[in-house]
């Protein structure tokens, strides 16, 4: 295995739901991707072009019709191989408190209950929610729910964070706040991130690399390296030039 390139490898992924006889449309076709360790990759594309499906395949939640995904050289055969997932809706367990949800994510069997509690408390702290540890999901705002969901995914101590439009349902201000926090977490915990979004701005604020999927069937259409210095500034002319370039790619 090469050291850096190809931490996550997608090899010729094809996806069609249902039985072959149903002849449903092809959702993903010939997806080849190679993602380096600690890389922050955004996937951008129109609604319905297969972003969620692609993410679920990497997560091991959905099996591709053909093709393979490998993580650090090991083929993905299901969830729980180091992939933490944050869904579009918060997907928190409503019967558990914020702390309970994060503790659910901590699957380490070899640490004591109090150690576990401490690890989870730090995670809640990391996402700025130590004060809400005992609140239930329905008592939290959308932004707080998504913060807990991130902490819960991190509790698994995954090498990879897969995020499916995690901030799509949030208001603009909360969204910007969470983007900053995610970058902070990414910096602090060194994760490889695949981040699905339909916001070019969001992709540019966050990513090392932006991948454009084309619809019907979903294919890798463009692959941009984003070399803009961090922190990224929305009003920076170089930022806008990059925005323009991706926008033209999307409308092509």
């Amino acid at each position: 295995m090469s050291t850096d390139a190809g931490f996550i490898e997608l090899n010729d992924i094809n996806m069609r739901f249902g039985l072959p006889a149903e002849a449903l449309p092809v959702v993903l076709q010939g997806i080849d991707l190679s993602i380096a360790q600690n890389e922050f990759v955004s996937i951008v594309g129109r609604s319905g072009c297969g972003k969620t499906t692609l993410l679920n395949i990497v997560a091991g939640l959905v099996e591709a019709t053909t093709g393979t995904v490998t993580i650090a050289g090991n083929q993905v055969r299901g969830p729980g191989q180091g992939q933490g997932v944050v869904f579009q809706q918060h997907a928190l367990f409503p019967w558990l408190t914020a702390m309970g949800n994060v503790e659910f994510g901590c699957r380490k069997a070899d640490i004591s209950k109090s150690e576990k509690r401490e690890v989870c408390r730090q995670l809640l702290d990391l996402v700025g929610l130590s004060h809400a540890a005992d609140k239930y999901p329905r008592e939290l705002s959308g932004g707080m729910q998504q913060r807990v969901a991130i902490a819960r995914a991190l509790a698994l101590d995954p090498e990879i964070l897969l995020m499916d439009e995690p901030f799509g349902a949030l208001d603009e201000l909360t969204r910007i706040e969470l983007q900053q926090e995610l970058l902070r977490v990414w910096d602090a915990r060194k994760k490889t991130v695949i981040f699905v979004t339909h916001s070019i701005t969001e992709a540019l604020i966050l990513s090392d690399r932006v991948i454009l999927l084309s619809p019907h069937p979903g294919r890798v259409f463009k692959d941009y390296q984003i070399t803009l210095p961090r922190p990224r500034i929305r009003t920076d002319p170089a930022f806008n030039a990059m925005y323009q370039e991706i926008w033209e790619g999307l409308s092509a």
């Binding site: 997560a59 939640l61 969830p79």
Partner: protein, 255 residues
């Protein structure tokens, strides 16, 4: 919370209740209606007390509660178990659901003749009827609860490596709890309704028996006290169940 009851609401409720009871009391005392058919509510209690001792009434109540509780408990347990199995395991669902759907619309009281033929006039036939009263609402609600658990929660749990029985116990059952709670309340109410009917048929103990026996003796006051007691018992026990449910899941689920 908006469903807090204000003093004004209580006052209105009191006025509404008195608007029925006061004219009744006046009509019965003044002889406008025949008190041997419509006894005055206040006099009914005192005259019934002369015909029945408190220990007798408590004994009847105890029997009724024991019957409804044991039948309900087994019916609910069976309903929960079968509901979970049918909802979680595909094959079991296909096997069990048609039969449940077929039997479910039959009112429990329609089973009375069969219950008597199968189990006789004693306790087992009563138990069977009460069991049915609890079983069908609970099995239906549990099945629905299990199949309606948000798939995103199951996926989320899978990303943490949960599968099989762990998914069922840690995600599906808690997720189904609100529906299950509704089923339990409906089941308890139906069990209670069936109880009195079962005791009207053949019994020598229980509130149903008490009012039926009073009818034979022409004790209208005892009948009135009996049916009011049945209402109060149902109200109190239902309130207790509602309270337990709220304590159990009220914090995370709007009930």
């Amino acid at each position: 919370m908006s469903n807090r009851i204000s003093a004004k609401d209580v006052l209105l409720g009191g006025i509404g209740t008195l608007a029925v009871l006061v004219p009744w009391e006046i009509a019965a005392r003044s002889g406008i209606v025949d008190p041997s058919i419509f006894p005055s509510p206040i006099l009914a209690i005192s005259s019934a007390a002369e015909k029945l001792s408190a220990t007798e009434v408590l004994d009847h109540m105890g029997w009724s509660l024991f019957r409804v509780f044991s039948g309900f408990l087994l019916g609910a347990l069976a309903g929960i178990t079968i509901g979970i199995v049918a909802g979680w395991y595909r094959t079991a669902g296909y096997l069990l659901r048609p039969m449940i759907e077929l039997l479910r619309p039959i009112p429990p009281l329609a089973w009375i003749p069969l219950a008597i033929i199968w189990f006789g006039l004693g306790e087992p036939s009563k138990f069977f009827l009460i069991f049915l009263g609890a079983f069908f609402p609970v099995v239906t609600a549990t099945y629905q609860g299990v199949t309606n658990v948000d798939p995103i929660l199951i996926r989320a749990a899978q990303t943490f490596g949960l599968k099989g029985i762990d998914l069922l116990v840690r995600i599906v059952i808690p997720g189904a709890a609100p529906d299950l709670a509704t089923g339990i309340r409906i089941g308890w109410g139906l069990s209670f309704g069936v109880l009195v009917a079962a005791e009207l048929i053949a019994a020598d103990k229980g509130l149903g028996y008490m009012i039926m026996h009073a009818r034979l003796l022409g004790y209208v006051d005892v009948i009135v006290v009996g049916i009011v007691l049945i209402g109060i018992l149902n109200l109190l026990t239902d309130g207790m169940i509602a309270w337990l449910i709220k304590k159990g899941i009220g914090r995370w689920h709007e009930v």
